[in-house]
Every structure is written in structure tokens, then in C-alpha cells.
């Protein structure tokens, strides 16, 4: 995640499941603007949907910063999901395929990691979680 310059950024609040739809729409619009292929668009929108829902359900709401970043000739999209929820006690466990603390499939976090190029997660118990992901063109 080093050396990237943020060109433009916008913040979307995530408080209801409708907001997840808004997040998907914003990310899709930006992906089109960057000129990502249809496959890459779908991947980043799906990851945004997963992480957005995590922010809503596990983080009890928060926000996402959707930004257009460059690193030299490369352009990409960075999404930073922030919540002030309970935090994640065991990151390694949370990132394991099939592990779920709710009723989901347990693939959201690990799947998003595979859908994106860069993935960083920072969580403090009782303070909240920030997941930052980037996908380059």
C-alpha cells in the first residue's frame, strides 16, 4: 500500500442494507471511470458488497472511503471500510475460509482478499475495525 497517491475520494455512510446497495453503485461507477474490465468491475463490486455488509453486520455500521489512486502509471481503486464496532478478536481465524461468527458462509472476508490485489485489516477489540483493499487496473 505504499507509494499510492489518492486522486479523488468520497465517503459513503453504511447504516442500513440499502447503503450497501449505494456502496456497490458508487464503486461500480468509479470502476467504469477507471476503465476496469467487466470482470474486474464485478470483482471489486462484489468485494465492496461483502466488506460493506461486514461493516454493517459485524461492525454495527460505519463508513467507506472510496478513492481513486495512482501509483506511477497504474490507476486503481481503494476502498477503506471503517467501523467502530466490537472489533475482531482473532484475525487469523476470521480470515479462514468457512469460519463465520454469524450465519453467513464464512467466505466474505477471505473471498474479498482473493478478489483484490492488496488487502489490509486493522482491528482493535472494542474500538473497531478498518479494512483497506485496493485493486489496480
Amino acid at each position: 500500500m505504499t507509494g499510492a497517491t489518492v486522486l479523488q475520494a468520497e465517503t459513503v455512510a453504511i447504516a442500513t442494507s440499502n447503503d450497501v446497495v449505494v456502496v456497490r453503485q458508487r464503486v461500480r461507477a468509479l470502476a467504469l471511470q477507471v476503465g476496469l474490465s467487466l470482470v474486474d468491475q464485478t470483482k471489486i463490486v462484489t468485494a465492496a458488497s461483502e466488506l460493506g455488509r461486514n461493516t454493517l453486520e459485524h461492525g454495527l455500521g460505519g463508513q467507506v472511503e472510496v478513492s481513486l489512486v495512482t501509483n506511477g502509471p497504474r490507476r486503481g481503486i481503494r476502498l477503506s471500510f471503517q467501523d467502530t464496532g466490537p472489533g475482531i478478536a482473532d484475525l487469523e481465524l476470521a480470515l479462514r475460509d468457512g469460519y463465520t461468527s454469524a450465519k453467513g458462509m464464512g467466505l466474505g472476508l477471505s473471498g474479498s482478499k482473493r478478489l483484490m490485489h492488496e488487502f489490509a485489516i486493522d482491528s482493535t477489540l472494542g474500538k473497531g475495525t478498518t479494512v483497506t483493499v485496493t485493486r489496480w487496473k
Binding site: R24, T42, S49, E50, S110, G111, R114
Partner: protein
Amino acid sequence: MLRLLHSACSGQYLPDSGKEPMSTLLSALQQERVAMLKAWIANLQTAIQLNDLLSQRELDAQAADVLNALLSVDPETRLQDFGSVVWRPLKDVVSSISVSRATLGFTPSETALFILSLKPVLFEQIRKRWGAESDKLFAEISVVDTFVDKLGLVTTESFIKGREQVIVHQQEDMLELSTPVVTLWDGIVALPLIGTLDSARTQVVMETLLQAIVSTNSRIAIIDITGVATVDTLVAQHLLKTITAARLMGAECILSGIRPQIAQTIVHLGINLQEITTKAKLSDAFRVALEKTNRRVVRVDKAGTVVTAAKQEPAKDA
């Protein structure tokens, strides 16, 4: 902005409004009813673009309704008492007009302009009567200004309520519209899904499909997700649950409409759909469904004899 104006105006006017009621103003206006309506309609014609949503006659009728409601109150009523029950009929008329504007698709500005364009008409009447006394003139104009502004706010509030009603209706329509189960053949139903699959909709989808399976005695159900933009783990989980429920009822599900980008995303997410028959196109799924029910689509010539015995020709999309 408007609120500032209100407080400023009422503040200035207060000392004068004690003994002498506004009856003079209202009764003056009541005498000029016809002239005022004419002037207002003339104003409206320049302020509001008529289109096929609203005819001139309707606009005239609405203006007359509002003016009647405004002028048919007891002449002793004061314009300052906007909260008074006496003004209820006027507010109701204005509200219902605004709501109908909102449903017709007018902009908030156009809707507010309808009431705000009443101002110059009232001002003109005041000028005629008290044009020589500048203090009185100013006081009366302040009162009318505040009154019409408040009425304008009523329009805006009702307009928003009208819009909200529209949105609620559309949401309800969407819920019903978005889950049609179509019978493709005897014993084969299809469910084309379009849009976002959130929890509320998925519940409806599952219920309608299971109901349709029972009512049509279907053995095979095709779920087509061509119109679903994003398939994430939640959507996949909903689909899997629906398919499992259908299986419990003895029906087999085929998932169709998996586009290349969706397929790659599903693989990366790590969702396992291997136990389910999946096809890229609805036509493929339909052919599988026909095969599973021991049927085949063949091409015949005019005489009705089968041209190709082998099933080379793909079945036409249903």
C-alpha cells in the same frame, strides 16, 4: 432563509396588530375576488410551464379552489394566526394540490411557485388600498408575505409527503413485479431474477418459487440470474437455501444466466456451487430440463416429418 424572514416580519409587525384586526385586509380582498383570480391565473401562466400533465382548465380550477378557501373564512380572522383551525380548509386544499403535483411528477419549485405566485396579486390589492400610507402598506405587506411563505412551506411539506408515497408504492410494486414465476413447459417453471437480491426480496422470491412448484406440480425449476448484477456470498447463500428447499419438495433446480464475470468472481470468493446444475444461458438450462423430463425439441418440415433425428438444433429460447 425563509425562517429568518418570518421571525423578522412578525417581530416588526407585532406592536400594530393588537386592537385592529386584519379584517380590513381580508374583507378588502374578498371584494376583489374575481379580479384577483384573473391576475393570479395570468401570473401562473408565466410561472408554470403547462404540459400534458396539467391542463389550463385544471390549473384555473385549482387556483379558484385555493382563492375560495383563502377568502371564504370569517373576515374577522387574522392572517397572522396561521396555526388557527380556521385556516385548516385552505391548508387541506393546498396540501392535496401539492400531493397530486408530486405524483404527477412536477418539481418542488414548480409546486411551490404555484402558491408563491399569489404574492404579487395580494401585494397589488394592498397597494391599491394603502398605497398612500407607507407604514400601513409595509405592515400589511409583511403580514401577507409571511402568510404566503408559510403556505409555501405547507406545499413543500405536502409535496415531499406525496413523493414518499410514490416511493413506497414503487417499492411495493417492485417486490411484486420482481418475482414472476413463469411456466416454460408442463412441469418446468422458471424464475428470472432481476436487480438486487436483498433479504426482503429473497424471502419473497423463495416463497413464490416454492408455491409455484406446488401449484404447477413442477419437477424442475430454473432460476435465471442474468439480471442480477452482483452475486456475493449473501446472494449465493440465499440461492443455495432456495435450491435446497426446492429439493426437499422433490423439485430439481437449475441455475442459469451465470455470466463469465460472475463465474470468475464466484471462483475467487470460494463459493461452492458444484452440487448444483448450472448453465450459462436460460436456453441451455431449458434444454437440460427437457432432457431430464424425457423430452426433446426437433425440427419438422411442412409435412410434419422430423428433419433431423439427432438433437443438433438448439432449442429456441423460451
